[in-house]
């Protein structure tokens, strides 16, 4: 075990020095979720919280990857260093994945101040991977000024990105079908900025109007009114204006609700870690005692249902702890 400790330390200091190989290794360790992942996250965590975290989400084919390439270039022009995590789906059948977001970001690949990592969801729901938020921490700790996360092509309920990003950009493209259908409830509510990409298309203005109409129905009173911008990612038109808006939102967060959002995020992360830990410890114990299989069999045979079985288990566990 001595070995693992030193390895973690070595990777941590590499990450903090911005070493590309260490960053890459760190993300792999986190993705594979071994015991060292926890140690690694713990050791880099004090060095995070400096980067601005931006999420890009929206339906597949709305131009997220192309737009990211242009956004990164605009930030590079402004002298900022950038990390990108691009998420694509894992096949639920084979467990494999085809990660193709880099195809649109080729020209960024040799810029030493840009680090791009493709990531498969590994069947984690919500449009990102389980490892995404910790991979973002690695890039943050490595000193990137901003970290962009591209979600999988998202529809209505892939809203996990709000747990990662401080500024959420929702992209849409005209002509994708039943206009705003694709971004109704969920995505509509998490957007800090809307982008109608492929704005050179005829129906772009109609898409803008549709989003406007949806927003007006939204009666939530908030200090930040999500703007709707038009971009043509292929030519880069509208991208400087988009980056300006992102910066405006960053300043807004710093002044207004930033702290509150940070607290909310910390709370969610803590609750999730607790849930995972509690579940793990109970499951491990049951498996050791051979009771896990017994219970699952009972559920299949309809002698109990999953919720009741879980409740009974929890009660028993709590009683045991009290006795101890």
């Amino acid at each position: 075990m001595q070995n693992t400790v030193t390895k973690t330390e070595e990777i941590t200091s590499g990450v903090l020095a911005g070493n590309r190989r260490s960053i890459a290794r760190a993300i792999t360790i986190i993705e594979n979720g071994k015991a060292e992942a926890k140690k690694l996250i713990a050791s880099i965590y004090p060095h995070t919280g400096k980067a601005h975290l931006i999420g890009l989400t929206g339906p597949g084919g709305s131009g997220k990857s192309t737009l990211i390439e242009k956004i990164v270039r605009e930030y590079r022009r402004r002298g900022k260093t950038v990390g990108v995590v691009a998420v694509d789906p894992t096949s639920p059948f084979t467990g494999g994945a085809f990660l193709g977001d880099r195809i649109r970001m080729q020209e960024l690949s040799t810029d030493p101040d840009v680090f791009i990592r493709s990531m498969a969801t590994r069947n984690y729901p919500g449009g990102i991977a389980r490892a995404t938020k910790d991979a973002v921490k690695v890039l943050d700790a490595a000193g990137k000024d901003l970290v962009l996360v591209e979600t999988v092509g998202a529809g209505q309920s892939e809203v996990e990105i709000i747990k990662v990003a401080q500024t959420v950009v929702v992209t849409y493209a005209p002509g994708l079908g039943d206009e705003i259908q694709a971004i109704k409830a969920g995505l509509m509510e998490i957007a800090d900025i809307f982008v109608v990409n492929k704005a050179d298309r005829e129906s772009a203005d109609k898409a803008v109007m549709d989003i406007q109409a949806m927003l007006q129905l939204n009666d939530k009173k908030t200090a930040w009114k999500p703007p709707i911008l038009k971009t043509t990612a292929l030519t880069g038109e509208g991208v400087p204006e988009l980056v300006e808006k992102i910066e405006e939102h960053r300043r807004f967060l710093e002044k207004e609700v930033g702290r509150e959002r940070d607290l909310e995020k910390a709370e969610t992360e803590l609750v999730e870690a607790l849930k995972e830990g509690i579940a793990r410890s109970i499951i491990d114990e049951l498996k050791r005692e051979g009771k896990f299989e017994e219970l699952t069999r009972k559920i299949v045979e309809r002698r109990t249902d999953p919720a009741s079985a879980a409740e009974k288990l929890l009660r028993k566990q709590l009683r045991r702890r009290n006795d101890a």
Binding site: R20, R21, I23, A24, R25, I27, T28, E31, N32, G33, K34, A37, K38, T90, S91, T94, G95, G96, A97, F98, L99, G100, R102, I103, R104, Q106, S109, T110, F115, I116, R117, S118, A120, R122, R130, E276
Partner: protein, 135 residues
């Protein structure tokens, strides 16, 4: 946290030819075999390919070439891999590579060379056999 180890493969197209049917077939086959496959797109320089492999921390790099420039591009790629210390990554190649060049390419560290007509099964087996030697 559940522990899962996935094989990550980079499929890259060095050089100027734009025939990527073969590369895509291989990418797809490896994906269907449960691997995570990163595809670079066309016309990549050796620098772009090696930097991508580094950032993506892949286990295996597959190079597809049909332009005939393998004798200049592959040695450069292997040189960069050595410079960056990525020698634990396994490199294989596919495309149009004449018999008489193969030995030379093997000598510089290209572990597998697969010509036209190779079944995807053969390539999957090669990757499975070689990828897990990494820690």
């Amino acid at each position: 946290m559940q522990s899962t180890r996935k094989i990550r493969v980079l499929i890259a197209k060095p050089g100027l030819d734009s025939h990527d049917r073969g590369a895509k077939v291989v990418a797809r086959a490896l994906r269907d075999a449960g691997m995570e496959v990163i595809y670079t797109g066309l016309r990549q320089s050796p620098e772009q390919i090696v930097e991508t492999a580094l950032q993506e921390d892949v286990d295996v790099i597959g190079l597809s070439i049909l332009s005939g420039a393998h004798k200049t591009l592959f040695p450069r790629i292997m040189e960069l891999i050595n410079e960056e210390g990525l020698t634990d990554m396994v490199v294989f190649a596919g495309g149009i590579i004449p018999q008489e060049d193969m030995q030379e390419l093997r000598k510089i560290g290209i572990k597998g060379i697969f010509g036209p007509g190779t079944s995807t099964e053969t390539i999957i087996k090669f990757v499975l056999k070689n990828a897990h030697k990494r820690t």
